[in-house]
Symmetry: C2
Subunit: 129 residues, 2 copies
Amino acid sequence: MSAIFNKGDVITNNYFTGTAYLKMLVPEGTEFNCPIGNVTFEPGARNNWHTHDGGQILLVISGEGYYQEEGKLAQKLHTGDVVTIPANLKHWHGATKDSEFVHLAITTNPQKGGTNWLEPVSDEHYNAL
Amino acid sequence: MSAIFNKGDVITNNYFTGTAYLKMLVPEGTEFNCPIGNVTFEPGARNNWHTHDGGQILLVISGEGYYQEEGKLAQKLHTGDVVTIPANLKHWHGATKDSEFVHLAITTNPQKGGTNWLEPVSDEHYNAL
């Protein structure tokens, strides 16, 4: 599978399990008020549970992944899926065990704040999906 | 080339030359303040010159197209290109003569207004590109 958008660099913060890459396509702090990142998860990689102060939109570019809101079953995501994540809703997203997963992530209403990172998605939780 | 996002329906307004399709992935008027459309231009199709009150971002998904700002040369666009269009800047976009062209179009700062449609890109202008 050839990538559409630039893959960028390995994410080195502590809010991911496994290996993921980020390329900011539109940076924060512009007149557009619309930061956009291209995120690539290797198989098995996922981010921690987290919330967004102003919400987020995910646009799935390739591969298969998961999106899970707290208290609900994980949803499987495929190429072309669109996920709208309301402000302050605890959730996580990432790849399936067997597939790379690429999505665009758009920070909505960035004037309301950023991302609040919480605990990792444990291996026990993830492996039971 | 298989489509990533839903192609949607033929655009029937008078602001396009040739055949183009639109699928709104995220509608106007939501809490996200981030309308997103998937636009597919058949070869030779393009929109009229226009401006956006709050700007627009284009993310090129597939094919080859053009983006031109008033008073500048047209830029050729390819898969993976990102175009940030400032508010109130007169411009147009569309396919090349020989390629389908698909881009996501994100309306930025929608609270500032919408799109102001102007004159068509003439065949004389387009065919000279």
